[in-house]
Subunit: 355 residues, 2 copies
């Protein structure tokens, strides 16, 4: 697959549509699966891993549900391309660079489904959906999982369920995570309260790039901790309920901002655009923070003429690897900050002139 | 005098020309004078003050050197107009509002010379010059002083010199002050060191609006403390020497910035313009800070198409009273912040389209 063909697209997770997309950016479900008769990744030799890849590719090629998934090899891929796939949420940072040995990922051109091979587990199936779409994501991934299971023998225990390399994934092997944009809860200083409540009910909160990453741009991933002792349907039901509550909180906070300090918020949003369009050097992190203000401004109807899809394009194209692929060559940190600023200035000028 | 006729002008102190005008904004000398046979202002009745005004007006009208000075009465002047004169550096905050009783000011239409009547002293003569111009300012004020002295009997003591309401002004009654723009010393954290050195040699450092005012926009007034026991020429010579040294420091700091972090400075300046042109609410203080960056950017040749005079116009026209006179009516704090932002956006757009 030529990754460059993906570059102009937003990918599924930033499509900017789907249910509740004023707050919910995307929904993701992943399933951890392992082959029964091969050592788990932590103990597997490269030969074992190559065997896993062979079987996975074969199963993918013969499954109707996986027909459009194309496999790409990671170790032979330039570092920049791996980072590009991380930024598009198609592979994990670990698969990109934290691991050694044979490994890869299969994904479809619409970027909704992917299967990582020889990440922490032999297989990590993933389905991504724009907006709040747990049911649809579940149906898709369940179908993909069933299709692969017809051709692969999964490590499965009658009492424990699916067996996984790390015990925290045993059982369903499922992690459902919902990416939320929560700027108003941040502005009104309620975000910590919300997160403390989530932790009490065993849900995890993480930043854009998963475990340990900071929540830049007011983007938070909320996901289940528990994979054992509950059915997939029950876990999904619990998450759905919590997300609906957080949605209400965020919208209440947005209403409060509009009621109590509309002018100040309008000023903040206008300045964010001003800075994005005038800086000559800017980091990815600051760009995300400012785009968060712009995104909120759009949903609060404080801005005309900038569609959410434009914000999403600025967001993805100013990530480091995307920026370098647009430039056509590698850029060091300072060069990236300059190139990012130039890109933003040009695009915002285009948007301004279309108004 | 119709103050509205001054509104489009920059006034002398912001003319933006004159020697060393990349660092020195303006030079000011004032002389404190009192009439010999009337009680000083602290003990004068309103009748005495009216008498002072009468004599001052008469002397002004009959002096060739003061022919162009026109007297305006302060108590009958709207508060907004008084504030307007403060912003143009023609009268003190005290004359505008801190004092009671009959008082006023005479000044010429080019705003280089003014005589405050019944401020702390009966007369406060002032000459303003754009740039670093101690000699020229001294010649002007000396001529004005001589002309008035021909018609007024000053309180003068053979040993002490000119007598004044406050003992700190006795002697020459002279305060020479130079307004400097020192952004690079601020950015390179050397400004405090410079000021400690100044205090040791008995020079005072103050902000834009005199005693007790904060130094917004990296503007500092440096002036002599001592008025007694030295000739005017000696005091002026000492100040000149110090200013020349500070000029060198500031220029060294500017060179260091260009050598060591040109790109970061360019970014800071570009963002300042971006914020000035995009904010929907902005205070006078923040405006001054941002305009300080723009002013430095011009002198460092980081900016094209914006002349210093345009920055000076933005500076003076975004001061509260100027803004309200431009609007044609009083504005409360929030309205001023909105009107200021609108003015800046419009003017910067005009400047941008002329590029």
């Amino acid at each position: 697959m030529n990754l460059d063909s993906l570059l102009p697209n937003l990918g599924e997770w930033l499509r900017g549509t789907g249910p509740e997309s004023d707050v919910v950016v995307s929904t993701r479900i992943r399933l951890a699966r392992n082959l029964a008769d091969l050592p788990f990744a932590t103990r597997a030799t490269n030969a074992h891993k190559t065997e896993v890849i062979g079987r996975a590719k074969d199963a993918l090629a013969k499954s109707d549900a996986a027909l459009k998934l194309e496999y790409v090899d990671i170790p032979s891929m330039p570092v920049l391309d791996r980072q590009f796939l991380v930024e598009r949420q198609l592979i994990s940072r670990e698969l990109a660079g934290g691991l050694d040995g044979p490994r890869g990922v299969a994904f479809d051109p619409t970027e909704t489904a992917s299967v990582m091979v020889n990440e922490e587990d032999h297989l990590r199936l993933q389905v991504l959906r724009s907006g709040f779409a747990l049911d649809e994501a579940w149906q898709d991934i369940d179908r993909l999982d069933d299709a692969l299971e017809q051709r692969l023998s999964y490590a499965f225990h009658m009492q424990f369920g699916y067996l996984t390399a790390c015990p925290t994934n045993v059982g369903t092997g499922m992690r459902a995570s919902v990416m939320l944009h929560l700027p108003a809860l941040g502005l009104t200083k309620q975000i910590d309260k919300v997160f403390r409540a989530l932790q009490k009910i065993n849900l995890a909160v993480r930043g854009l790039h998963g475990e340990g990453s900071r929540a830049f741009g007011d983007l938070y991933q909320i996901s289940n901790h528990v994979t054992l002792g509950k059915s997939e349907a029950k876990i999904l039901g619990e998450i759905r309920e919590v997300i609906v509550t957080i949605l209400q909180y965020e919208r209440q906070a947005r209403n409060a901002i509009m009621k109590e300090r509309r002018q100040a918020e309008h000023d903040r949003v206008a300045r964010a655009i001003g800075t994005l369009g005038s800086a000559t050097m800017i980091t990815a992190e600051e760009t995300m923070e400012l785009l968060s203000a712009v995104r909120l401004g759009i949903h609060l109807h404080l801005l005309d003429g900038i569609p959410v899809t434009a914000v999403n394009q600025l967001f993805i194209h100013t990530q480091s690897a995307h920026l370098q692929k647009l430039a056509g060559h590698n850029l060091d940190g300072e060069e990236r900050n300059s190139a990012r600023a130039k890109y933003l200035k040009t695009k915002l000028r285009e948007l301004g002139s279309h108004k």
